[in-house]
């Protein structure tokens, strides 16, 4: 890092937040791409049915677009929620994604640097104790869980409209939200995303035992033995 100390504060700020910025840029670019190709597909179906196209603006406010977006969001946040929660209690020998084998559980206040063990620079709610410490101790899962539930609800709300659009197109009666969440369409969208996220986590946990990416904190250093657990590059 020392070779960058002469750069301007703005460049330094950009560099030190480059991971967030890169993902934010990629997220927006891919979401925009999804909107344009989705609109093109929908409008080609309109034309094939003898109808006028509706355009990108209409598509990005349509339930067809948002059910596709939110079904992926909910599964991603569920993936991270499960990963955060399960790694408290479950370990994997040799994986950098796992904690140390002997550290299973919530760990001591000393290890977690809370209460009387908190340092002056610890987060305030970690220092004060009481209900704020209890809340802060689970704040990551609480927020990830809230986003998961919110996204899943948004999937169901947009999904019932998208489903009814197909129903009406095929001259069937529409269904209510409560009917929809018991239908195969809702669970097919849900489960097909869940299985892929769980497979990805499994692959990451297991592959990272034996495989390496030099310089990545998601990998063990290249020369670290396969059996070394909780070691990040």
């Amino acid at each position: 890092m020392s070779r960058h100390t002469g750069r301007s504060p703005v460049l330094r700020e950009l560099r030190e937040n480059s991971l967030s910025l890169a993902f934010a840029f990629l997220f927006l670019a891919v979401l925009a791409g999804q909107a344009f190709v989705g609109a093109a597909q929908r409008d080609s179906q309109q034309v094939a049915a003898g109808l006028e196209p509706l355009g990108v603006g209409d598509y990005v406010t349509s339930s067809v677009f948002w059910v596709d977006v939110t079904e992926n969001w909910q599964s991603e946040f569920l993936q991270f929620l499960l990963f955060i929660a399960l790694t408290v209690w479950f370990v994997q020998r040799g994986s950098p994604e796992s904690k140390r084998l002997e550290a299973v559980g919530r760990e001591t206040d000393e290890e977690q640097i809370v209460g009387s063990h908190a340092r002056p620079d610890s987060p305030r709610w970690a220092r004060v104790g009481g209900w704020r410490l209890r809340v802060y101790s689970h704040s990551l899962t609480l927020v990830m869980g809230a986003i998961f539930v919110g996204s899943w609800l948004a999937q169901s709300a947009s999904g019932v409209v998208a489903y009814n659009e197909d129903q009406l197109r095929d001259l069937h009666a529409p269904v209510t939200w409560t009917e929809y969440i018991g239908l195969p369409d809702f669970w097919d969208r849900t489960l097909q995303n869940w299985q892929s996220e769980l497979l990805a986590v499994l692959a990451m946990v297991v592959f990272s035992i034996f495989l390496r990416e030099r310089g990545s904190p998601e990998s063990k250093p290249v020369g670290v033995p396969h059996g070394a657990t909780a070691v990040e590059g």
């Binding site: 991971l19 967030s20 993902f23 934010a24 997220f27 927006l28 979401l31 309109q46 049915a49 003898g50 109808l51 006028e52 196209p53 509706l54 603006g57 209409d58 990005v60 406010t61 349509s62 339930s63 067809v64 948002w66 977006v69 939110t70 969001w73 946040f77 991270f80 990963f83 955060i84 994604e97 990551l140 927020v143 990830m144 986003i147 919110g150 996204s151 948004a154 409209v161 998208a162 489903y163 009814n164 659009e165 129903q167 009406l168 197109r169 095929d170 001259l171 069937h172 009666a173 529409p174 986590v201 990451m204 904190p217 998601e218 990040e232």
Partner: protein
């Protein structure tokens, strides 16, 4: 997959969720669909087949003309054909409910169920003179 990566994912995701929550509806709404059905049945009641056919999906009008071996305005009002079903229903066409889902809509009148689709800035009738058949699609007198 560690907590560093998890943290950076939160902010954009929350912003995107807010954007999702802010999504509204666009284009013609329930009242427009209701209006198209009212105008369709008013035209049928007036014997104005051309006006009624103008509100149909072009594909549905073409299919009707081909099936009845007559231009759409004539075929639609033929008492021995669709007119025999649509004529009596035009006498009691007060709209009772509109069910809209994205680019499709179903308008229920006192005597009929009509299906519509968005086309640009308006609705067109895709099926009319429809009766439910349980699990199967509605059986419609005119459809594409």
């Amino acid at each position: 997959m560690n907590t560093r990566r998890l943290r950076v994912l939160r902010a954009p995701a929350v912003a995107a969720l807010v954007a999702a929550a802010a999504v509204g509806c666009s284009g013609p709404g329930d009242d427009d669909a209701r209006d198209v059905v009212s105008r369709f049945y008013a035209a049928v009641a007036d014997g104005d087949g051309a006006a009624a056919c103008a509100l149909l999906l072009p594909g549905a009008a073409d299919d009707l003309a081909e099936e009845e071996q007559a231009p759409c305005p004539e075929a639609l009002l033929d008492p021995a054909g669709p007119g025999g079903v649509l004529g009596p229903r035009a006498a009691d066409a007060a709209v009772e409910a509109v069910h809209r889902a994205g680019s499709q809509a179903q308008v229920v009148t006192a005597s009929d169920t009509v299906f519509l689709a968005r086309s640009g800035d308006t609705w067109v009738v895709t099926a009319v003179g429809c009766d439910p058949r349980g699990e199967r699609p509605y059986d419609c007198e005119v459809e594409s």
